[in-house]
């Protein structure tokens, strides 16, 4: 981690081999720039990204998780990306219950031609997660909220 003054979030990106990983290569070939703390893990299909992978990433200290797949209709494995989308909707609710903010988990369709989009998403996501702060701080905030709730036992739960 380089920046001392600003928080540099760590983002784990699961990219499918055929579209979004290719897009990441293309971003490199075009020498587009995005922060060094976006770390890419190649999977054959976005449909391979088990919910456990996302939780594991957060557990290992990731501040954000990005999943990249082919555009709807373009999946190399016919329909893996649709399954990813379904899982994403479930994951959103699960992460919400854990108190993990929506912006920390993102699913994007990035075709093999969209190197520019990959770089843009990586930059945007880093910026948003940077604003949210480290996931650890979220944990602390949640712990404080729990404590608050305990103190206010019997009273109306405040949002």
């Amino acid at each position: 981690m380089s920046g001392k003054d600003t928080f540099e979030p760590r983002i784990v990106a699961f990219l499918c081999n055929w579209c979004s990983y290719t897009a990441a290569d293309l971003a490199g070939i075009a020498r587009l720039k995005y922060p060094g703390n976006v770390r890419i893990i190649r999977v054959m299909c976005s449909g391979r990204v088990a919910p456990g992978f996302i939780l594991k990433a957060f557990h290992e200290g990731a501040d954000g998780v990005l999943v990249g797949g082919c555009h709807p209709g373009d999946c190399h494995y016919l329909e893996g990306n649709y399954k990813t989308l379904k899982r994403k909707l479930v994951m959103d609710r699960l992460l919400d219950q854990f108190g993990i903010e929506k912006d920390r988990f993102r699913l994007e369709w990035i075709s093999g031609a969209e190197g520019e989009k990959l770089a843009r998403v990586a930059n945007e996501m880093t910026e948003r997660v940077r604003r949210l702060g480290p996931l650890g701080r979220t944990r602390e905030r949640l712990a404080r909220a729990d404590a608050l709730e305990l103190r206010n036992e019997g009273g109306a739960a405040s949002g």
Binding site: T22, D25, G36, G47, F53, G61, Y77, L78
Partner: protein, 1116 residues
């Protein structure tokens, strides 16, 4: 057991990685990682010495895992896998970290890049520790290749493969192979004509025994995998049997339909029966048919309106009449009384008004009568069967006609003294003169139909007596003659008539006195007929009272309007509550209605009486025309029970009833309906009777093509108003029953018929069928779907030309003589619309011509890329203009890109030609000078730094090459990706220009990127080499990275089975375990992501391996 021994190899990639990443730091870091035995860095790890480093360490240090940190695995994974393999290590024990494309090239700061490289290496090392050796699987391949697209790229690929002795399917969407190149005139830089170099290849493809040509065909679906694809191809009906067609062109000579010629880029017309172009391969004709025309689809009887219009316009009246009689035997009657839904749906109304289709039919009938022609009776081989038709209305007569035509003896029973049914009794003479009806009946008698009149069912004969008499079948067409009554007080008062009794009396010359005031109650055609008849009987005040509003009225609009012109008044939203009068009607008491908010079973709003709104109207005569129902009184009770269903007759689609051998048709089945529906029903039932008496099953439903509903390009049609049917003037009508419509004259009828747009192109008029001596035309042909097994696929679907109407500045489509490149090619082509003469639209030779480069290319508003061919085609155009005319040529270019072999030389040669002016600047705008009428081209001459306006007579635009409009669909079908410009994405832009992301699918030619003919041919041959490299070994290695079930963990929950897109997972029901078919499995891993117990794993991307990678990237 000792842990693995890992070697880490860091590539500098020259300076590509090493400039950003501190290689020594990463090397030291990686050396300290668990299980790492060796860590080295090298300038070019992919080079032979680099690979030797790895091989030597495997041998000398007994390494059993390798991590290479370098460029993307999409680039060099195969290289390093091979290095491991040749070094004696299983290639699946190697893992790569992408520290170039995804690290050094995208990270701004060196420190961050180094940190990221460390993380990526850590991740790879962690995964490497868990890697397992895997063996590639080998599957046999199908040695056949499919080439998709018959342009020059596809031709080249197909020929190369076929000449090597392999089988090829060549699929082409158009009716001929040749592609865009077939349209070209001369080709740069040699100026040999495209046809001269292309057609020999086309012929060679057509004659090569190894090539199966599928034209008019499109790939709909591809399944399977490399070496073993299943391809579903739709062969569109061409309505010509290719094996019989001799290419003589007799069909095109007689085809009456002209349509836009797409091959001539819209600059000429062709017939609906046509050959794609003179040198087409296969050398056969086809018929351009886009469904049924709207008129025919709208006709209940399926009468081919468009067909007889086309024939009439050509003066082929006999043929037109014969075509009508295929579905409508009574042309004279139909053309007078039909409510012609054909005209309501006619697509000419998108331009102005519908064609007067029925009026043209009336002309044909009049022409036949005037010339005393007797149509040839339809021929049918005598069957020896006899059929009794009961009832001689339109349904009965229609059935009699068609049964006779099918060869049966037909006897028609009629209860009245003269046959004709409602045609005689109810249709007033001013619409249908009696002699017209008698003429049609006379014809039936001449044909051999026997009539027994004065014979009533139930009184004079019964179904049983008919059977006893020896009739093989009975067709009941006795109509719906029982009239519905008003059910109000005073209804039986003298002076109140039902519509049918009123009209019948008038028809028989026994018209009742009507007085001055006549009220007709009802809103159907019978009500209008009664009202108009009353006018003719001398009534002064005739009004039609209808309980709903005008919009709900069932009568045809033409009849309503004719009645209004004759003075009939209409009252809406009123119902009778009583007839007033003692001994003689004096008036009717009405109540006003309003319409309910809900709708009834007929889909219309119900009338609801308004309390207290009653009012009286005086009248001398009241005619009740509120509907008819079926009367089953003539049958015995048992028959009645079997026939009836409520107020209707129970009959199937074909008119078959519950009584064996008894069929029904017309109003008797449908309730009161129209003449044309009755005729259609009669014909349908006749076909069923025919099947019955021959002991066959009921026929298949008759084929009806869907109507052609696609948008029409209306710019090709000039407005030409509908001819109005000449009519008797209103004063002449009201005191006489003379026919109102007088009919068109021949000139009017032909002109009216020529208004037809031929909306579905071919109208099935039948001229081609009659003309074709080889009996090759088959209008019943349907699309055919075939499934083909192939091992490799070459996609060579080509490009299309950018449409310059996208930018107003080019004036294309607005001004004549602004041409696209392909239009100019056709104009300049000796086989084109002007036989190669360069002429303006008005026939003049141009005095000055401008050629514009980069139309839609190198332009951020349209396409950013360079289309690569336009500079050379422009220079070629400039030369051709000079060669063929004396015009000055202005060639407007941004940069002159003449990069190919002999290209610059060609440019220099043309630049030296007299009167060719090369101006550096983008042709910005094409305008028309209103004074001189010349086209003005605006350009900034960037060399002189001046703005110029150049007057010219012709502008040739050189539009960009763009991906075909259907490229998205094609990409999805074949599993190809598209690059940002929309062209198909190759696997690697430089090193793998033909491969795609899908193994076994290759691309060639302009579908991959814009290119000229030499490059296209080279890539076509290259794709052929790719396909043969894949297929010739006879088997292909497929990835072992497939799913696998750990049986001890599997609970048999089926989740993975549901997830698998390839149906590669099934259940072993005995063991209640999932089983993976490793040949079908493609290794996506969706099953593993779903498996709740972790039993389903994917080799090389197993849960533990990916989880350890996550730890790795998060560690640093």
């Amino acid at each position: 057991m000792a842990g693995p021994k890992i070697g880490v190899y860091l590539c500098h990639c020259g300076t590509n990685i090493a400039d950003k990443v501190d290689m020594e730091t990463v090397r030291e870091y990686s050396a300290a990682l668990p299980d790492v035995a060796v860590s080295r860095d090298y300038k070019y790890m992919c080079s032979e010495p680099g690979q030797d480093l790895i091989r030597a360490d495997i041998r000398n240090c007994a390494l059993d895992r390798i991590v290479v940190a370098s460029c993307s695995p999409r680039m060099h994974e195969p290289t390093f896998k091979r290095a491991c393999e040749t070094g004696g290590l299983n290639p699946y024990l190697m893992e790569m970290a992408n520290i170039r494309e995804q690290c050094s090239w995208v990270t701004s700061e060196a420190a961050a890049a180094t940190a990221k490289a460390k993380a990526l290496v850590a991740s790879a090392v962690r995964k490497a520790r868990l890697l397992e050796p895997l063996e590639d699987k080998t599957v046999p391949v199908n040695p056949t290749t499919m080439v998709v697209g018959g342009g020059i790229a596809g031709l080249e690929a197909a020929l190369k493969i076929a000449d090597a002795g392999q089988k090829v399917y060549l699929v082409e969407k158009e009716p001929s192979i040749g592609g865009n190149m077939a349209k070209l005139d001369k080709t740069f830089p040699t100026l040999d004509c495209a046809a001269c170099i292309l057609t020999p290849k086309m012929v060679a493809v057509g004659q090569n025994p190894n090539i199966t040509l599928l034209t008019c065909s499109e790939v709909e679906d591809v399944s399977g995998f490399v070496g073993n694809f299943k391809v579903r191809v739709r062969k569109r009906a061409r309505y010509v049997d290719v094996s019989k067609c001799t290419g003589c062109g007799d069909c095109a000579k007689v085809c009456p339909v002209q349509t836009i010629d797409s091959f001539e880029e819209g600059m000429a017309t062709r017939r609906a029966a046509y050959k794609f172009f003179a040198q087409a391969v296969p050398n056969v004709y086809q018929i351009d048919k886009r469904g049924w025309p709207a008129c025919r689809a709208a006709c209940p009887a399926g009468v081919n309106g468009g067909g007889y219009l086309a024939l009439t316009a050509e003066g082929k009246y006999d043929e037109a009449l014969a075509l009508i009689r295929e579905r409508m035997p009574f042309v004279g009657i139909c053309s007078r009384i039909c409510f012609h839904p054909c005209e309501s749906d006619c697509r000419r109304q998108e331009v102005d008004q519908p064609v007067a289709i029925n009026g043209v039919k009336r002309f044909l009938s009049d022409w036949e009568v005037k010339n005393n022609l007797t149509p040839a009776p339809p021929e049918g081989k005598k069957s020896g069967k006899s059929v009794a038709v009961v009832g001689s209305g339109p349904a009965g007569l229609s059935a009699a006609y068609y049964l006779l035509a099918m060869g049966h003896a037909v006897t028609v029973f009629e209860k009245d003294e003269k046959p004709g049914g409602l045609l005689r009794h109810a249709i007033p003479r001013y619409r249908l003169p009696e002699e017209v009806l008698d003429r049609e009946l006379e014809r039936l008698k001449t044909m051999g139909v026997k009539f027994r009149t004065g014979q009533e069912l139930g009184r004079d004969f019964t179904l049983a007596s008919l059977r006893k008499e020896g009739f093989n079948s009975v067709l009941l067409a006795i109509g719906a003659g029982s009239e519905v009554s008003l059910d109000v007080p005073g209804e039986d008062c003298p002076g109140v008539h039902t519509a049918l009794s009123f009209l019948g009396a008038v028809s028989h010359g026994q018209a009742p006195p009507v007085g001055t005031g006549v009220i007709v109650i009802g809103g159907g055609n019978a009500a209008i007929d009664a009202a108009r008849t009353a006018v003719r009987l001398g009534a002064k005040n005739v009004s039609v009272v209808y309980r709903r509003s005008r919009a709900e009225m069932p009568a045809s609009i033409q009849e309503i309007e004719a009645a209004e012109r004759e003075g009939v008044k209409f009252t809406f939203l009123a119902s009778p509550v009583a007839v007033i009068g003692t001994g003689k009607v004096t008036g009717v008491k009405f109540v006003r209605n309003e319409l309910s908010s809900d709708v009834d079973a007929s889909g219309r709003r119900r009338p609801v009486p308004v309390p207290g709104s009653e009012y009286d109207v005086s009248a001398d005569t009241v005619v009740v025309a509120i509907g008819q129902t079926v009367d089953l009184g003539s049958f015995d009770p048992k028959e009645r029970q079997e026939l009836a269903a409520g107020h209707r007759v129970k009959a199937g689609e074909w008119g078959e009833t519950a009584l064996k051998g008894v069929f029904a048709a017309g109003d008797f089945v449908t309730g009161p309906a129209s003449f044309v529906e009755a005729v259609a029903g009669g014909r349908r039932a006749a076909r069923a009777v025919d099947a019955f008496v021959r002991g066959q099953a009921l026929p298949e439903p008759e084929f009806r093509m869907p109507a052609h509903e696609d948008p029409l390009d209306l710019s090709h049609y000039d407005a030409s108003p509908r001819h109005q049917m000449p009519e008797l003037d209103v004063a002449g009508r009201t005191r006489s029953f003379a026919e109102v419509e007088k009919g068109f004259g021949e000139a009017e009828a032909r002109a009216e018929a020529a208004r037809c747009l031929h909306c579905s192109i071919c109208m099935e008029c039948g001229e081609c069928v009659r003309a074709c001596e080889a009996v090759a035309v088959d209008h019943c042909q349907r699309d055919e779907v075939v499934e083909l097994d192939v091992g490799a696929i070459v996609v060579a679907t080509g490009y299309q030309q950018f449409d310059p109407t996208a930018g107003e500045q080019w004036g294309y489509g607005r001004y004549d003589d602004v041409l696209t490149g392909l239009q100019f090619e056709r104009l300049s082509n000796a086989s084109g619309p002007t036989q190669g003469r360069l002429l303006c639209k008005d026939g003049r030779e141009p005095e000055a011509v401008a050629v514009l480069h980069c139309v839609g290319s190198r332009d951020k508003n349209y396409n950013e890329y360079c289309s690569r061919i336009c500079c050379m085609t422009s220079v070629k155009f400039s030369h051709l203009v000079r060669e063929k005319t004396r015009a000055k040529v202005y060639d407007l270019f941004m940069d002159m890109r003449t990069f190919g072999k002999q290209y610059e030389e060609f440019y220099n040669r043309v630049a030296a030609e007299e009167n060719v002016y090369f101006i550096r600047g983008r042709g910005a705008e094409v305008l028309k000078d209103p004074k001189s009428g010349k086209l003005m081209v605006r350009v900034e001459d960037t060399l002189l730094g001046v703005l110029r306006e150049i007057p010219v007579d012709m502008v040739i635009l050189n539009p960009a090459m763009v991906p075909r409009a259907d490229s998205q669909r094609v990409a999805q079908v074949f599993g190809i990706q598209k690059s940002a410009d929309g062209f198909f994405l190759e696997y690697h832009i430089k090193l793998e220009p033909m491969k795609t992301a899908t193994d076994g699918v290759f691309v060639a030619g302009t579908c991959q990127s814009p290119k000229d003919i030499p490059d296209t041919v080279a890539q076509g041959a290259g794709a052929a080499a790719e396909a043969m490299t894949l297929l010739l070994p006879g088997s292909v290695r497929i990835s072992p990275m497939t799913g696998e079930v750990r049986e001890s963990l599997c609970s048999g929950c089926h989740m993975c089975v549901l997830m698998c897109p390839y149906s590669a997972i099934s259940m072993d029901e005995d063991k209640a375990l999932a089983v993976v078919n490793e040949v079908l499995c493609r290794g996506c891993g969706t099953c593993s992501a779903t498996c709740p117990s972790g039993a389903m794993r994917v080799r090389h991307f197993d849960n533990s391996q990916v989880l350890s990678q996550i730890e790795g990237v998060c560690a640093e």
